[in-house]
Symmetry: C2
Subunit: 169 residues, 2 copies
Amino acid sequence: MTVNLREMRKIVTVSVLIFLFAFNSCRNSDTQNQVETELNDQIFPLGQKVTNSNFVGTVWVEGVLDADSLNHIAVGNVVFEPGARSNWHTHPDGQILICLEGVGYYQEEGSPIRVVNKGEVVNIRPNLLHWHGASADTKFVQLAITSRLKGVTEWFGPVSDEDYLALIR
Amino acid sequence: MTVNLREMRKIVTVSVLIFLFAFNSCRNSDTQNQVETELNDQIFPLGQKVTNSNFVGTVWVEGVLDADSLNHIAVGNVVFEPGARSNWHTHPDGQILICLEGVGYYQEEGSPIRVVNKGEVVNIRPNLLHWHGASADTKFVQLAITSRLKGVTEWFGPVSDEDYLALIR
């Protein structure tokens, strides 16, 4: 038995189309997985964009739980976009930071910058001057756990570009 | 021009092999993505398996931060496997639970079971009798934030299957 040229071309064309279809479905499926992974990674909504002058860059805050007469612990989710950071500040009863996603920087007065990765915790002692924020090229998602027993945060000046960039120079 | 049967078979065989290779690569890539997503979702290590009798089923605890003389807030990550739950208990200064992943149940004495989904918070009042755990078919990953100012957890009896299954009957 023999096959003529026209039939041959048809078979090759159909094979190529099947391959392209399979390849394209595969690629779409990968992209879809990536989008779902990114959405799935967000535990809390983005919240509200911070508009006060205690931060430099774009920062979002979602109030997870407020303190009240029976609960003195406030919990908030803060998203620092790359390069964004808090001003220097202190907490009268300390604060606990947990990195939920991305890469953050944390610095206490007189100490070098510490890099904070996903799942890492920062135990900030009462009245210790410090700042925290995103790394220069990656956002930083942090859960902030703050005792309100002894009052509110005291704010100082912004972190200079010199201080901020000290780590990556 | 004509092609003989042997050449024809060769071409079809090669086309089928290319298709199977593309299809299999795609499937492997999906599986790989799924595994990476699951690993990526874990913010904390699984920690230690709980061996005390305050829980029913398989429960893992990772101590994220202990309380000390300058910080009175303890943070722990608890993974309840499907069907696992705490016994009834109270916290002298309350507790905050945050669902990081999966589906949990929470019940206060005399109230119906509340379903707790990812990103949802439970504000447990001081000395309120309650229990929490995984739903029957999905694990529950919770961050537990506990003030140690007024002492430690007081434990009571296990949750009966009748109480546990009340929601899904």
